[in-house]
């Protein structure tokens, strides 16, 4: 026997393994690249941050070159501003102007459109209003969403606008289940906690405080003032759940999902009052729908915006940066920079409604009320509209309108073509929602604004691949939308603290209307704030 030698050298073995690796990668790449698809049409957009941020830099704007007058000036064309305008023109006050910074009105309810479908950029549904929300029911009747409304019987809704079945599904442990509340694969203890929580909120839903009002109302300022219930606002929802012995992971996941969905905040950052309000404030009635049904359209609440826009078309001035709102002896003086012509105009109004975020309102209003909120917690959101050549399916329940993964940091996606009537199986648009709640808003905002399109595209598509393997192959377009200041989060103490009350009780010819004034960013609150401000300024506006 000669000397012992390894019969295969390490080098040979490595070469062999390398060959396998190269072969596998080469084949994979070859297959990926061979039927080469058209490149994905990708873009990253968002509200015009550069315009808004001019207010922060303290730059001096050009002096006004012209002056015009109007009875009521509305600063901001989001839901609150448009609702105020709608109410005023309905009361016969047509000497009004709505000044909007962006090229398009709508705020968080704006929408986009491509060759495949219209799609939301933010808010995408409206729950059926409570019977006592008469103004909103009136709006919906005017828009034809409600076909029969007599104020006595449950309204009849236009069926096409009610979210079609199947409305929701949840992906958990490899299978889609119907609804968003986890039901499959729960332990007995988890089921007990779900039952206990839902039983509790169900009784709260019908509970009235010592003033006879419901504990949780919509708009929230219609809620009971009973201190026993308002005390919920002093602790976080997470704390309250711990105190009550709620520990089931699936329940906590679901409740945090709800908080992130409506408030862009985690359980720890949400007031317990707001957390419970989400579950115990809805008492809708409808002749032809379940109480928990929602209204939706391909473009989400953009549909409502379009209808309001039609009614207010003569009063809308887009691309207007209002940089000063001052109380004068005769009324209100606004200085407004036209972002297209770069010309400042002086607008003399009898009254003004400042329907912008409070962080902006406090900068532009020279007489911003003392003690009113200046720093409101606003969570950044990333919304992606992903156009795909065919709708994804997956194991279990079929594709629904709202599709959520238990395992994803996102809130899932809604399908823009869900409300299509007839037989539709072609391309569609998925609207994917990601509230950036992992860090405090200011930190994550700066970070998010620095991320390039490629980052967001990879993040969203990687996440979607987890629930729909191969979906990347079907993507034809990707539109990212970064909401730097997405929406107000109701942190403990904000809703029933003293600061917000300053704005609600504020009198005078300058009124504030925004969901920041509520602490909850839902259509109903923006609408109610707009109407409150409009009703108040009516007394100052005398159309000559």
């Amino acid at each position: 026997m000669g000397r012992l030698q390894p019969v295969i050298s390490r080098r040979e073995l490595l070469k062999g393994l390398l060959a396998v690796g190269a072969g596998a990668i080469g084949t994979a790449l070859g297959v990926q690249w061979w039927p080469r698809q058209r490149p994905i049409e990708a873009q990253l957009k968002g509200p015009s941050a550069d315009r808004g941020h001019r207010l922060r830099t303290g730059e001096s704007f050009p002096p006004p070159t012209r002056t015009r007058s109007v009875a009521v000036a509305i600063v901001g064309g989001g839901v609150a501003g448009l609702s105020a305008g709608w109410w005023l023109q309905r009361q016969g006050l047509t000497d009004l102007e709505i000044l909007e910074l962006e090229p398009e009105v709508g705020g968080n309810s704006r929408s986009g459109r491509n060759a495949v479908s219209a799609y939301p950029l933010g808010a995408h549904y409206l729950p059926l209003p409570n019977p006592d929300n008469a103004p909103l029911l009136t709006l919906l009747a005017e828009l034809g969403v409600i076909t029969v409304y007599d104020g006595v019987h449950p309204p009849v809704y236009r069926e096409e606008y009610l979210c079609h079945e199947p409305d929701e599904r949840l992906y958990r442990n490899g299978i889609w289940q119907s609804g968003l509340v986890p039901r499959l694969g729960l332990t007995a203890a988890e089921k007990e906690q779900f039952a206990r929580f839902f039983g509790f909120v169900e009784s709260l839903r019908h509970t009235r405080g010592n003033d006879g009002k419901y504990v949780f109302g919509i708009p929230l300022d219609s809620s009971s003032t009973d201190p026993q219930y308002r005390a919920y606002d002093s602790i976080s929802f997470g704390q309250w759940l711990t105190d009550q012995g709620y520990t089931a992971p699936a329940l906590l996941w679901y409740l945090e999902y709800c908080c992130r969905d409506d408030y862009g905040a985690t359980l720890a950052d949400t007031s317990a009052w707001a957390g419970l309000h989400y579950h115990a404030s809805r008492r809708a009635q409808a002749a032809n729908a379940d109480p928990d049904t929602v209204l939706t359209w391909p473009q989400g609440n953009g549909w409502l915006i379009e209808r309001l826009e039609e009614r207010l078309s003569g009063y809308l001035s887009p691309n207007q940066l209002v940089h000063s709102v001052a109380q004068t002896a005769g009324g209100v003086e606004l200085l407004c920079l036209d972002c297209i012509t770069q010309e400042t105009v002086r607008i003399l109004a009898q009254a003004a409604i400042v329907a912008v975020p409070l962080s902006v309102a406090c900068r532009i209003c020279t007489n911003y009320p003392a003690g009113a909120p200046r720093q409101v917690r606003q969570t950044p959101w990333f919304v992606a509209n992903v156009t795909i050549s065919r709708a994804p399916q997956g194991a279990g329940e079929p594709l629904a309108w709202d599709n959520v993964s238990y395992h994803s940091p996102s809130l899932g996606y809604v399908v823009a073509t869900h409300q299509t009537l007839g037989q539709y199986a072609g391309p569609t648009v998925l609207t994917y929602y990601l509230p950036l709640t992992e860090q405090p808003p200011t930190t994550v905002r700066a970070w998010a604004q620095a991320q390039p399109l490629a980052y967001w595209q990879a993040r969203v598509l990687t996440d979607l691949e987890q629930i729909h393997p191969g979906i990347g192959q079907t993507v034809t377009a990707f539109e990212g939308w970064l909401w730097g200041h997405g929406m107000v989060s109701p942190t403990p103490g904000y809703i029933w603290g003293p600061e917000r009350q300053v704005l609600i009780r504020h009198t005078g010819s300058i009124q504030f209307a925004h969901t920041d004034c509520s602490g909850i960013s839902i259509f109903e609150e923006g609408f109610a704030q707009g109407l409150r401000a409009a009703q108040h300024v009516m007394r100052y506006a005398n159309p000559a």
Partner: protein, 498 residues
């Protein structure tokens, strides 16, 4: 040259495992129960390899030449294995005999490879070197195959194509060995030709895979397929046996020419014969033109608008002679206008009014189809009804799916229509239900057109009687926002076909 032979080991190991995986996956697809299928296929395959190894000792002479022939044979048999199993699945009486027969054959041949190759290589390495090298490359090849198969081959190529591709690679190795050892082989030219022929067969198979798959699907129908076409909306398959023609959409029987007259006479006449003044008729769905044929029996009807999603469907039943004979050339009638559009979308935009509307949609088996049976849809239908007009809805089997059937009735009533449900027996379908509805009271016809083969005035009233096993049951109304009908339908038909 030794390197070439080691590469050969690597390739044949990859190919060998791919054949095994193809057989396992195919057995899982076709027979179900993947654990059992994979387990038995792998067991039989490994056993067969042992048989091959045993048999290798009987190869005494011309080892290299035998090895090359075996390579070519494996390439051919292994390469065609997926295709042959797909194609023969519907034909053979026992698929398992075919499956395990092929697995045994391939396994035996693969089992022969390595021992023969080691004998070829034995003079070039020491024994321990030889064992180590051959098995190292063998196992690395197996790793590559096991990774490629689920990640790349099945998702991007498909089983049949994978078989052909790896068969071709296997043959290519054989051909490569022929070329390299040309001088040491007796009659290398004939081996080369043999190899090239095998290669060509496998490449042809690869190119034709799509069509072969298509052909194999046709075997799924009990009778000879005379026409099959995929459209953006459905797969249309027509079978014919003697005079009997059957239409399948997505595998579901739509009509059999034996008894379709029962269905279509029952669909049209109870409603339309009661409207002697009817002039304009709308048919929604029913691209086969059979309902239109029945409508055209009424000389008073001046215009029939047929709205069907699929232009391929209406095109076939207009221009194909066999099919146009079935509907009596109805779609070529000057009184008929064919519109290829989505019924719901078209209905929303039309201003036309009709005296009679026929809804001949597929059963509400999914949420898209469920919308065509909703209150919202029926309200649209009501809008296009001329004063005194009526409509009829085919509404699945009141025997198999009573809740579904009575849900259609309740939904029509909820849309403000008066209803008159009835049922007939269609041998191909069983007991089948329909609902006539109108804004005014709905009554039975007093006369029927001449020439009907099924309906008669004498038997007609009986169809409007529902015996206790099909009697009305309490149900919800089908709305877009609850799709109650699809839920009923799924449950009832699942219970029936279980």
């Amino acid at each position: 040259m030794p390197i070439l032979l080691l590469v050969t080991v690597f390739v044949i190991a990859t190919c060998g495992l791919v054949y095994e995986l193809v057989a396992g996956a195919l057995a899982s697809y076709l027979l179900g129960d993947s654990v059992t299928q994979f387990s038995t296929v792998i067991g039989v395959y490994l056993f067969a390899m042992g048989v091959g190894s045993y048999l290798s000792q009987f190869v005494k002479h011309q080892v290299l030449s035998v090895f090359i022939r075996i390579e070519l044979l494996i390439g051919l048999v292994g390469g065609c294995s997926a295709a042959s199993m797909f194609l023969l699945f519907e034909v053979v009486s026992s698929f398992r005999v075919l499956l395990y027969g092929e697995v045994l054959l391939i396994g035996t041949l693969v089992g022969l490879e390595i021992p023969l190759l080691m004998r070829i290589l034995r003079d070039r390495y020491t024994f321990d070197e030889l064992i180590a090298r051959v098995f190292t490359f063998d196992y690395i090849g197996a790793l590559l195959a096991s990774l490629l198969f689920p990640l790349v081959l099945v998702p991007y190529l498909g089983l049949m194509q994978t078989g052909f591709l790896f068969g071709a690679i296997n043959v290519a190795v054989g051909v490569g060995v022929v070329l390299v050892f040309w001088r040491q082989l007796p009659r290398p030219r004939s081996l080369l030709w043999l190899g090239l022929v095998c290669f060509a067969v496998l490449l042809t198979g690869l190119a034709l895979s799509e069509r072969l798959l298509d052909w194999s699907e046709r075997q799924a129908y009990a009778e000879p397929v005379v026409l099959a076409r995929s459209t953006p909306y459905q797969r249309i398959v027509l079978t014919q046996s003697g005079a009997r023609v059957r239409l399948f959409l997505n595998g579901n029987l739509q009509f059999s020419s034996d008894d379709e007259y029962r269905y279509h006479e029952a669909l049209v006449h109870p409603g339309l014969a009661a409207l002697p003044q009817a002039q304009r008729v709308l048919v929604l769905g029913g691209g086969d033109g059979m309902a239109v044929r029945e409508v055209l029996r009424y000389p008073g009807v001046r215009e029939v608008v047929l709205v069907d999603l699929d232009s391929a469907m209406t095109g076939l039943f207009h221009h194909n002679r066999l099919l146009a004979d079935l509907n009596g050339g109805a779609l070529g009638s000057p009184r008929v206008r064919v519109v290829n559009a989505d019924a719901y979308q078209w209905l929303r935009t039309t201003d036309a009014r009709f005296d009679f509307v026929v809804c001949d949609f597929p059963d509400p088996s999914n949420f898209s189809l469920g919308k065509l049976y909703s209150t919202a849809f029926y309200r649209q239908l009501r809008r296009v009804l001329a004063p005194g007009g009526r409509l009829v809805v085919q509404s699945t089997s009141p025997f198999v799916a009573p809740k579904s059937f009575w849900c259609v009735v309740a939904t029509l009533q909820s849309a403000g229509l008066r209803t008159l449900p009835y049922h007939v027996h269609v041998p191909s379908f069983g007991e089948w239900g329909f609902v006539v509805a109108g804004t005014d009271s709905v009554d039975l016809p007093r006369q029927l057109p001449d020439g009907l083969r099924f309906l008669s005035l004498a038997t007609l009233p009986g169809y409007f009687d529902f015996p206790p096993d099909m009697a009305p049951v309490p149900v919800s109304v089908n709305r877009l926002n609850n799709q109650a009908l699809v839920h009923y339908f799924e449950r009832e038909w699942a219970a029936y076909s279980r």
